[in-house]
């Protein structure tokens, strides 16, 4: 049976949103609909009828897979926006996984009165009932072609005016899929949803989907267009990345770890550190006052090349390439914490790469990116050659350039 955290919880959940306790004025500005309801009182709000803009409270399904994303009431398309519901907190990562240039809108929700427990390295220990969402979307292409989406790092068009980074502007973005990760009694489960053509709701897509799209570069003068098939993973493929311990076989969240979350976020009522914000909202317990780990933003050229490259490899590779991950058959360890240069790939012969070697001898040859298998597999977008094995069907040009630069700057050789 579904567990319904009903309206009694509503107030408390809402109070978490955007730090109402700290700054009620800003909260009201952000959500006029709710402000109106507050003044009308809880009684009027309860029946919901006639209150067209009022979202129902988040629904945690302890079992089953609801047919529509909107059944969860986590993030919903309404009034031209994709907005998180009350108590649903958006977040971002220092360095994201590359997914065919898709932009991502992530949220976390926990049942009222519960909180996650801080972990220094692994994902936080989230309470039963936690639901994470990740919505994959693109800024729309300049033309009317429905397949055209922008290949762009510019996020300024993504968000609805006045919401800071709290709601997407559906006039400017195309929603593709939303992945739900739900923490149930028996563990985490991954549930994929694909957005309909009208962009009104996303439907359950357990077996995934394949959507033809076309990436259009920022420079429209260059006629830079790249057709590709956007592959929505099926449920088992979700586990392909989210099972980071091949023995335990349990799905885990990947993003919400201290080193990825330690950054600012533009909330509607101001920009501040995500971890501090979570602690303030009461959804994160045990946050140390100092000594927080922080991985680099791969795109931030003010940070060191090594830190950016290691952060990039950690996020894009280490869910498999770690001592416990499914690719531990190959002795390659790309976690940012790994200090063993050989296991990082330096002068390490491949183990099961097949044609993925590109006829190169080592994973990484210091100073020689074009002789390094690691880079060869990043450049490829062909299944069987490319790395990661799934989750992308295009080449991440800027990621490739980062790793190329990193390998080129490495001292030493493999001639011994």
């Amino acid at each position: 049976m579904a567990t319904d955290h009903g309206n009694a919880d509503e107030r408390e959940q809402r109070s978490r949103h955007s730090g109402e306790g700290r700054n009620p004025l800003k909260r009201i500005l952000w959500n006029p609909a709710f402000a109106g309801m507050t003044s009308l009182g809880l009684l009027l709000f309860l029946p919901l009828s006639g209150c067209t803009h009022a979202p129902q409270p988040v629904h945690f399904f302890s079992e089953g897979k609801p047919e529509k994303l909107s059944d969860w009431h986590l993030v919903e398309a309404r009034d031209g926006k994709l907005a998180p519901n009350a108590g649903v907190v958006p977040y971002d990562l220092n360095t994201p996984l590359f997914s065919d240039y898709a932009h991502k809108f992530r949220t976390v929700w926990m049942p009222s009165g519960t909180s996650a427990t801080y972990e220094a390295d692994g994902p936080f220990d989230f309470p039963v009932g936690t639901v994470l969402t990740k919505t994959f979307f693109y800024p729309r292409g300049a033309d009317a072609d429905r397949k055209a989406v922008a290949r762009s790092y510019d996020t300024t068009r993504d968000f609805a005016p006045g919401t800071a980074h709290e709601a997407l502007d559906l006039a400017d973005v195309r929603l593709v899929e939303t992945r739900v990760l739900v923490r149930r009694e028996r563990g985490w489960e991954a549930i994929p949803y694909v957005w309909n053509a009208a962009q009104t709701d996303a439907e359950l897509a357990r077996t995934g989907d394949a959507i033809p799209l076309e990436l259009v570069g920022d420079d429209t003068a260059k006629a830079d267009r790249e057709p590709f098939v956007y592959v929505v993973p099926n449920e088992a493929q979700c586990a392909g990345c989210h099972v980071t311990d091949v023995k335990a076989k349990q799905i885990e969240p990947l993003g919400p770890r201290a080193r990825h979350l330690d950054r600012d976020y533009a909330y509607a009522d101001g920009t501040r550190n995500q971890l501090a914000h979570w602690a303030e909202l009461g959804i994160l317990a045990g946050l140390p006052a100092t000594g927080l780990p922080k991985d680099a933003d791969w795109h931030d050229e003010k940070q060191s090349l090594d830190a950016r490259a290691r952060s990039y490899l950690d996020v894009n590779c280490s869910h498999c390439h770690s001592p416990t991950g499914p690719a531990n058959t190959t002795a390659l360890d790309l976690r940012s914490a790994n200090a063993d240069r050989r296991r990082l790939g330096e002068c390490k012969p491949p183990v099961a790469a097949g044609r993925g070697t590109g006829d190169h001898l080592f994973d990484i040859v210091p100073g020689k990116p074009d002789e390094s298998i690691l880079l060869y597999r990043m450049i490829s977008s062909e299944p069987g050659v490319m790395m990661p094995e799934m989750g992308r069907n295009t080449t991440h040009k800027e990621g490739v350039e980062l790793i190329r630069e990193w390998i080129a700057a490495m001292p030493g050789n493999c001639d011994a």
Binding site: N234, A236, A331
Partner: protein, 407 residues
């Protein structure tokens, strides 16, 4: 002209995976239903693959224990991944106590059937094939259990793998029997595995027939393999492995190769017409693996190898590679041939007692008139020698593999 430009573009973007045509409605419906069955499988589930050739776009992943995937026969129920857009494997299993039988997996972009970290694995009458024959575009492994315990692979076949056709890696307690491996770089390979019985298989037309390898860096070291009653015939296919992979160093025309693996017993096989050599015993050093500094705790020397009672014929008459050809002609003349067994001659001097290995560590041959060519690898082939009597010894037979917990 237009076509040419398209082709050139294809090469530039590294393959044309995204150009795969969309599936027919019938194939799409079949795939959706089959994918759903894999997602919904629970202990006791039987997933039936109906007869016919079914075009699939995406890897089939099995994550539930205790499942049977069953077709109507490896020539009847065919899963074709020719137009695969996501994978890269054909079938991928993270589960225990399962059986996959009577079906074929064709033309997957990566490995055909990969099983990662499973216990009580049965693969029966499964054919994995790359239908265009040996090609640089083929996936690495055909049937590929890795880090598994209690593995039975029987009555199956693999054709065209760019690495090994039937490959068991980093596993223990393994039976590989009555299979056929053809046109792969390595026909059957046991790597870094403990206790393997490889028998009554046919390995023919591969670059190397049956390989027992132990490599550095991996999660476990291998030992104890019995290779017997196999037919290892005419494995003379040109090596089409990707440079950098271990098998890329296998000379075409290799029958059985043991590399750095301790405790291997090779007996009662028919080994014939492998034109480099019917049997090669090698250390990690002779291989042209680029890396010559294997990690600590890894023993690069083959030890306790016992070759006996095999039936050898032909072979050794046209070795692969200039060094080997020159050596052959110099020692045995244009029309001559290498002896049935080649040994690279690398010796672990640390364990020598009075100039030789202790009795239980030796390379022993008890196989009629079979001779051994020590190619003197450590001195760059400068003093190769044919020997016989000095290899004449016996080792106690290795124990047969028992698959515990299997019916």
């Amino acid at each position: 002209m237009r076509k040419l430009t398209g082709l050139a573009l294809c090469v530039l973007v590294a393959g044309c995976a995204r150009e795969a045509p969309p599936p027919s409605d019938a194939d799409a419906a079949f795939e959706k239903s089959l994918q759903q069955q894999f997602l919904d499988a629970k202990p006791g589930s039987v997933i039936e693959i109906p007869p016919g050739k079914h075009a699939l776009q995406r890897v089939l992943t099995l994550r539930a224990n205790g499942v049977t995937v069953r077709g109507a026969g490896s020539d009847k129920s065919i899963l074709s991944f020719k137009n695969q857009i996501s994978g890269p494997e054909g079938m991928l299993v993270y589960a225990n106590d399962f059986t996959i039988e009577h079906l074929a997996i064709e033309d997957s972009k990566g490995d055909g059937l990969k099983i990662n970290d499973g216990e009580n694995v049965t693969i029966r009458d499964v054919r994995v094939e790359w239908t265009a024959g040996p090609s640089k575009d083929n996936g690495a492994y055909g049937i590929y259990p890795v880090k598994c315990r209690n593995v039975l692979i029987e009555d199956s076949s693999s054709i065209g793998a760019r690495d090994a056709g039937i490959y068991v890696g980093q596993s223990q307690d393994i039976v590989v029997r009555r299979n056929r491996a053809e046109k792969n770089v390595a026909g059957i390979e046991i790597e870094n595995s403990v206790r393997a019985d490889v028998y009554e298989n046919v390995a023919t037309g591969n670059t190397g027939g049956i390989l027992v390898f132990n490599m550095p860096d991996l999660t476990q070291h291998g030992e104890h393999a019995r290779v017997f009653k196999n037919k290892v015939v005419a494995n003379n296919l040109g090596n089409f492995g990707a440079k950098g992979t271990a098998v890329a160093s296998v000379p075409a025309g290799s029958g059985v190769i043991v590399t750095s693996n301790p405790k291997v017993e090779i007996f009662d096989n028919d080994i014939a017409d492998n034109r480099t050599a019917n049997v090669i015993i090698a250390s990690y050093y002779i291989t042209n693996f680029a890396d010559k500094k294997p990690t600590e705790g890894y023993d690069p020397y083959p030890k306790a190898i016992f070759i006996h009672d095999n039936r050898f014929s032909g072979g050794g008459d046209s070795p692969d590679g200039l060094d080997w050809k020159t050596l052959k002609v110099a020692m045995f003349g244009l029309g001559g041939h290498f002896p049935d067994v080649l040994w690279d001659g690398y010796v672990d001097t640390k364990i020598l007692v009075d100039g030789r290995y202790p009795d239980d560590q030796r390379i022993c041959i008890r196989n009629g008139d079979v001779e051994v060519l020590n190619v003197d690898g450590p001195n760059k082939f400068s003093d190769p020698k044919v020997g016989k009597d000095e290899y004449h010894c016996e080792l106690p037979p290795l124990a047969p593999v028992e698959l515990k917990g299997k019916a």
